[in-house]
Amino acid sequence: MSTATPTFSGGAPTPGAVASAAWSRVRTWRPGLVLAGLVLLFFVVAAAVPSLLASGSPTDIDLRGALRAPSLEHLLGTDQNGRDLYTRVVYGARESLLIGLGATALSTSIAVVLGVSAGLAGGIADAIINRFLEVLFSFPVLLLALLFVTVFGASATTQIVAVGIGTAPGYARLIRGQVIAVRDSGYVEAAGALGHSYARIVRRHVLPNAMRPLVVVVTLGVGQAIVWASGLAFLGLGVAPPSPEWGALLDAGKNYVQKAWWLEVMPGLAIVAFALSVTTLGRALQARLEGGTER
């Protein structure tokens, strides 16, 4: 996944001190970050109180007004049942975000348990957990998810579990590596030499230091989980209609892609905007936490 952080290179304004001052202000403002924040705010409000942003109901049908192109009356057009697409995108935010956050929370929980156990225990336990992770790794996320949905049926819960389990091994490995690095570090050794108990060392030193990179990865993961979940829904394996979950909107729109482009493009843009915003903020967070400057 790429980042939306704007890069300013070449062609930068050179003539005059005014321009240069403005330029440095822009740099400190970081408009990309501000924009990402606004987009995120919009979707968080949409998820929390959708009626603030859209007045109608996402399931109100109007057969005479079906498949209308975007206009002032219908900002994003209408679908095959004459439902207002803007309203549906707004109301779809809650389920989409819940699936993204839920899947990430699940995968992180699994990953923390497995990664920390493997890293701390070492030896046979580490080897067993590692092999287990490798087995999980050998199943591409999408296939694991397909298997899940085929057996358990399509629902938001299945999507959360499928994507959550599918993405857990990556996080688990990351945590295990961090735990090992911290465990073998000088300051942990020093703490041990000072006579601190094992539990205290783990609690005070190992866990906080090992988890820090996870914060960034998880932020990035939310966007990615939404993309995965939308992918599943696009294949018809998402939540049941008439839910306006974004992936489900994509799925319903694909048959009209030649005659009513907005049904496919608009929900797609919502997914892209959200995923990019989360990623942008994740990168900024990463830069802050690592203490370096943002690229």
Binding site: Q80, F139, G170, V217, Q224, A252, N255, V257, A260
Partner: protein
């Protein structure tokens, strides 16, 4: 930073999952659905003046890939028709013409049918298609170990025995008269296999059934296509085929393209010369630019079965209220356009012989009536969401459906319209899409697992009523009775109709049965199951849909520039 996600290579496992799902269906195909048809505008006499050319490959995009090439599902009949010949063929609404059987006669008591067979016909593996071979097929279909559920659904209760009188005379004995027999026999499920191939294991027959038809299966690439080659010695076309000899083309490439937009695109870009099931949004363009064949499938149309054994639909007033609450005609027109028609009669599709048109408007959209009925039924208070309640419980029903298999994308649009219309009278509907595995796995098909379910049963005869509405009894279960509606009187009426010879009396009995089903609102009529082909006439001519259930026929077809 390492990505927590590994790159995926999804195709092979997807295919395997599909195959696994397919394997699960195999068992069920026995009870899935039969089929039949009558055509609205298909013509076998397309290019009377043009002279067919020889050679080339037909590129055809179909929608649904069945779990096996032959079997009891209409999707299997479509494809196995290319390989098999049957005893008889059907023209229009119920006219039967010779195929492998050149002549037939029935005894006075209607119990003994004698068929004269075309001499000199051979299966593509060299076996002779004689009376013994026909008998071997009937024995195989009805043997409990190798039963074909659809064949059994039609003739199981009527069949007594069969015998080969001589090489070209086949005799069928029935236990009681069955007037729809010839119509039933014209469907692809009754396609004749070579006796040697019937001795092969089921997995071999699944992939490469052997018949005497115009094409021979060369290879089935699961998830992609079936490659057929021409049977060069074909000499047994049905009487209603234009070409009585071997097929004009060398090969037929039968592809499976499930996505409607992709299938349509494959026609407009020239990748395929003919596609199945024109998407509703593309009908106008199809009619302007291509030759369109539309076939309204007879039998049970797409109807919503209401589970009468369980609340809320155990109350007839609630069933009727739902029927009145839904503006089905407007909803069907919006969702399908020309791709399918509204069919208000819940028992038979409008193209079925003996269909009763008077039931078409039995429940015209009338929300006031719906509200009154629900009030009477005790659902008279409403909760905060505007949903009716009784004793604190909301009025709610779950409709589950085979998404992408039994109900296509347009059908899903329709269900959402109906859901919203029901809400207007305070009736909450929850939609629950099922995967094929779930649908055919069985645990979702018990009397307690759903409130309502849409479905069809294609058939060229009103005799399908017996298949769908026969009682579901412990010692004689009927999985096709998806309303779980047991009515001894209804079963008797249909049985009498099936055994009656007088056309007027038969019509009266079949009408009585349809009226009973409609009056009881045991099911709600939705739309006709419709087959369509869009054909690029600049490349391909003389493709048609046959009349028993709309099986595509390619033995007459020829390429403009092979």
């Amino acid at each position: 930073m390492p990505s927590p996600l590994s790159p995926t290579a999804s195709a092979p496992l997807t295919a395997r999952l599909a195959a696994a799902a397919a394997a699960l269906i195999t068992a069920l195909v026995l009870t899935a659905c039969g089929g039949s048809g009558s055509t609205t505008n298909a013509s076998a006499t397309d290019d009377a003046a043009a002279k067919p050319t020889r050679g080339g490959t037909i590129e055809y995009a179909h929608q649904q890939e069945p779990p096996c090439i032959s079997g009891g599902w209409v999707e299997q009949a479509y494809i196995s028709r290319q390989v098999f010949d049957s005893l008889v063929s059907q023209v229009g609404k119920g006219r039967i013409v010779p195929w492998i059987a050149t002549k037939w006669k029935v005894s006075k008591d209607q119990l003994t049918w004698t068929f004269d067979l075309k001499p000199g016909v051979k299966f593509s593996d060299g076996d002779a298609l004689d009376a013994e071979a026909v008998k071997a097929n009937f024995d195989y279909w009805l043997d409990p170990k190798t039963i074909n559920g659809t064949v059994a659904a039609y003739i199981g209760e009527y069949y007594d025995s069969s015998r080969a009188v001589d090489a070209t005379t086949f005799q069928l004995k029935l236990k009681k008269p069955y007037s729809p027999l010839l119509s039933a026999l014209s469907q692809g499920y009754f396609g004749l296999h070579s006796p040697s191939s019937l001795k092969q294991p089921a997995d071999v027959q699944c992939v490469k059934p052997v018949g005497s038809g115009p094409f021979v299966i060369e290879k089935w690439n699961r998830g992609q296509n079936v490659e057929f080659v021409r049977n060069p010695t074909y000499n047994s076309a049905p009487q209603n085929a234009k070409n009585q000899g071997p097929a004009y083309v060398d090969r037929l490439n039968w592809k499976f393209v499930k996505e409607p937009a992709t299938r349509w695109g494959s026609l407009t870009t020239g990748q395929n010369q003919v596609i199945y099931d024109i998407p509703s949004v593309d009908w106008q363009e199809a009619k302007a630019e291509y030759q369109v064949e539309k076939y309204t499938t007879p039998g049970r149309p797409q109807t919503l079965s209401l589970n009468v054994t369980k609340a809320p639909f155990d109350d007839i007033r609630v069933r009727k209220a739902l029927a009145y609450a839904l503006d089905r005609k407007a909803a069907v027109e919006n969702a399908f356009g020309e791709a399918a028609d509204f069919n208000g009669n819940p028992a038979l599709s409008k193209s079925t012989p003996n269909y009763d048109a008077s039931l078409e408007n039995a429940y015209t959209y009338d929300p006031d009536k719906a509200n009154a009925l629900l009030d009477q039924a005790g659902w008279s208070t409403k909760n905060a969401d505007g949903i009716r309640t009784k004793g604190g419980r909301p009025l709610k029903a779950v409709i589950d459906y085979g998404a992408g298999s039994i109900i296509n994308a347009d059908g899903a649009t329709l269900l959402q319209t109906l859901q919203e219309q029901a809400k207007q009278v305070g009736f909450e509907i929850e939609l629950k899409p099922l995967t094929l595995t779930q649908l055919f796995g069985g645990q979702f098909s018990t009397p307690t697992s759903y409130d309502a379910r849409p479905g069809y049963w294609t058939s060229p005869t009103a005799g399908v009523l017996y298949i769908v509405w026969r009682q579901n009894l412990k010692d004689r279960p009927n999985g096709n009775n998806t309303s779980f509606y047991n009515d001894p009187g209804l079963e008797r009426t249909i049985g009498e109709a099936n055994s009656t010879l007088d056309p007027q009396e038969q019509q009266a009995l079949y009408s009585k049965a349809q009226k009973r089903i409609s009056d009881q609102a045991a099911a709600i009529g939705l739309y006709t199951r419709t087959s369509s082909l869009a054909i690029d006439r600049s490349k391909l001519r003389d493709v048609w849909l046959e009349s028993s259930q709309g099986e595509p026929v390619f033995s007459d077809a020829w390429l403009v520039k092979p």
